[in-house]
């Protein structure tokens, strides 16, 4: 991830979220989708993406489908049932993290 190391811990959750929306995606498509959504602010490098995809696959959160496209083989990833459940948990965790960070960075003072 070229932009910031801060995103690194959230990469798996980003992948799960994208796959939940896109049903099945291939590696390059994921990098382009992230680039498009973040308007080029966040760039997932190949060195970060594929280890993350392989790890999620090994954990049983992703399933793989292979298809022949444009004279070459393409590996599509999609969420397994376990992956769908895990996505919900990890997104909730990420949202909590963002909320906490926001409170730390921009504390709202109040008089009780």
């Amino acid at each position: 991830m070229a932009k910031s190391k801060l995103y690194k811990g959230s990469l798996n959750t980003i992948i799960l979220k994208l796959l939940d929306e896109g049903e099945k995606m291939y590696g390059y498509e994921i990098t382009q989708k992230v680039k498009e959504i973040t308007k080029g602010e966040l760039k997932i490098t190949e060195g970060a993406l594929y280890p993350a995809l392989h790890k999620l696959e090994a954990e049983g959160l992703l399933d793989v489908e292979v298809a022949r496209v444009d004279n070459r083989l393409r590996k599509y990833y999609k969420l397994t049932e376990q992956g769908v459940r895990e996505k919900i948990n990890r997104l909730a965790e990420l949202e909590d993290f963002i909320r906490n960070m926001e409170q730390l960075v921009n504390p709202k003072w109040s008089i009780n």
Partner: protein, 228 residues
């Protein structure tokens, strides 16, 4: 702009030179590089040659040759492959160590209190024959993988583990050698017994890796007229 077959062959040869011949990883990188090159040619007006060079620079680090102590320093390959294999192995090793430790503590304490030489003699034969059977399976699976004629990251992983641990089933076989001599009442130590159990509990790894290799093949063979 879609790449021609010859251009895809150039990428394929590049990956072959880098040692990325395992079908599950190679198809993924080849497709990624091809997509990226096509985009460069479309949006930047690059020639295939220029776009390929730029893409090669991006992948240089991921495809650099490395080795990893978890897999065994005798084996090296593209970083992407080695790191994937090391990650898989770590999980298997954790389960192996936990299983062997628990078994050693529970069963070892029973053995230690047993003064019967017959029990130790029975175990010496049991471990010896089981190790020979495991070794037979390791060799059989090795040839079964070879017969598939397709290399995957799992076939690479199998090779590293079979070479690395295969000989353990001979060297530490209590029927053939007396290295640890744990199966004698007066020589029993938990450490020696743990080593035998680690070797024993390691055996499912070979079958799991083989099954993973077959899973990769099944996905690919599901596509008709695929050239591998």
């Amino acid at each position: 702009m879609k790449l021609e077959q010859e251009q895809l062959d150039v990428i394929s040869s590049y990956l072959y030179k880098k040692g990325l011949v395992q079908i599950d990883l190679k198809m993924e990188v080849l497709d990624h590089m091809a997509n990226s090159i096509e985009k460069r040619m479309e949006t930047c007006g690059d020639t295939f040659s220029d776009a390929f060079k730029s893409e090669g620079l991006i992948w240089e680090r991921e495809l650099s040759n490395i080795s990893n102590p978890i897999i065994g320093l005798l084996f090296s390959g593209p970083k992407m492959l080695i790191n994937k294999c090391a990650r898989e192995l770590k999980i298997y090793y954790v389960y192996t160590i936990i299983g062997a430790l628990l078994f050693t503590v529970v069963f070892g304490s029973i053995l230690k209190n047993s003064n019967s030489n017959n029990v130790f003699e029975f175990l010496r034969h049991l471990y010896g024959y089981v190790f020979i059977i495991i070794l037979f399976f390791i060799i059989t699976i090795h040839f079964a993988i070879k017969r598939t004629q397709i290399k995957s990251s799992f076939s690479f992983l199998y090779k590293t583990q079979a070479v690395g641990f295969g000989f353990f089933y001979l060297v530490y076989n209590p029927l053939l050698t007396d290295i640890l001599s744990v199966f004698k009442n007066e020589n029993f130590t938990y450490i020696s017994f743990l080593i035998y159990n680690l070797i024993l509990f390691l055996s499912p790894i070979f079958f799991i890796i083989y099954k993973q290799h077959l899973r990769v093949l099944k996905k690919i063979r599901a596509i008709k007229n695929v050239e591998l």
